[in-house]
């Protein structure tokens, strides 16, 4: 009944490993935390370099192009463009390695 060898559909063989179609609110919360952490790191790099009197193209470009967590629309935060999906959007948790990659921008109009 319980334990690692319980008889559930994913464990009794075959390819049944389902990913829910939407994120839970706790997943969303942790995702926002991760986005904010990356924002913080970029800000740290920017202030540290500015104090040295240096600047960096990659950081400048990130600041110019990438929205921060607060600026992002919920649609872009939690879903991602996919041309194969009906209505062109799927949950961001379907993206491979989604907790360790930055995926903030989507094609305009989608």
């Amino acid at each position: 009944m319980f334990g690692p060898f319980r008889l559930t559909n994913p464990l009794s063989g075959g390819l049944l490993w389902k990913i829910p179609w939407r994120l839970s609110r706790h997943q969303k919360y942790r995702h926002r935390e991760r986005l904010r952490r990356v924002d913080g790191i970029v800000a740290t790099l920017d202030t540290a370099l500015a104090r040295q009197g240096e600047s960096m193209k990659r950081v400048e470009r990130w600041k110019l192009e990438m929205p921060t967590e607060g600026e992002m629309l919920p649609k872009d935060k939690y879903t991602v463009f996919d041309r194969k999906v009906k209505r062109y959007r799927k949950g961001i948790h379907k993206l491979p390695k989604w907790t360790r990659v930055s995926q903030r921008l989507n094609p305009p109009g989608f």
Binding site: I41, V42, A48, R51, Q52, R58
Partner: protein
């Protein structure tokens, strides 16, 4: 001279080999490893490559491995009187002032 204190929070397992290369170049071999690198645009560029995996703070001084270890060690709660005569004198001085 300011330094970046870089700690690897997330492993790069399953990520592209370039990401592994950047971690190796920074000297980050396993999770929760901490390294110090001087603030420069080349190091900043490396951090930008792995910003989802690390924790970065700007600090004034770099710490050696031994110093980091000593900072983690908890207070033993005692001192040997013979060995730490100075500590004892200080403590007594403080208590004397308090009384």
């Amino acid at each position: 001279m300011p330094y970046f204190r870089i700690t690897l929070m997330r492993s790069a397992i399953g990520l592209p080999s370039k990401t592994h290369g950047v971690l190796a170049a920074l000297g980050l071999k396993k999770r929760m490893a901490t390294v110090y690198h001087p603030v420069s645009s080349s190091v900043a560029g490396q951090i930008m490559r792995i910003k989802e995996l690390v924790d970065v703070k700007e600090v004034e001084h770099a710490m050696t491995k031994d110093e980091m270890r000593a900072a983690r060690r908890p207070d033993p709660g005692y001192y040997v009187e013979k060995r730490d005569a100075k500590v004892r004198r200080e403590r007594e001085g403080v208590e004397g002032l308090a009384v």
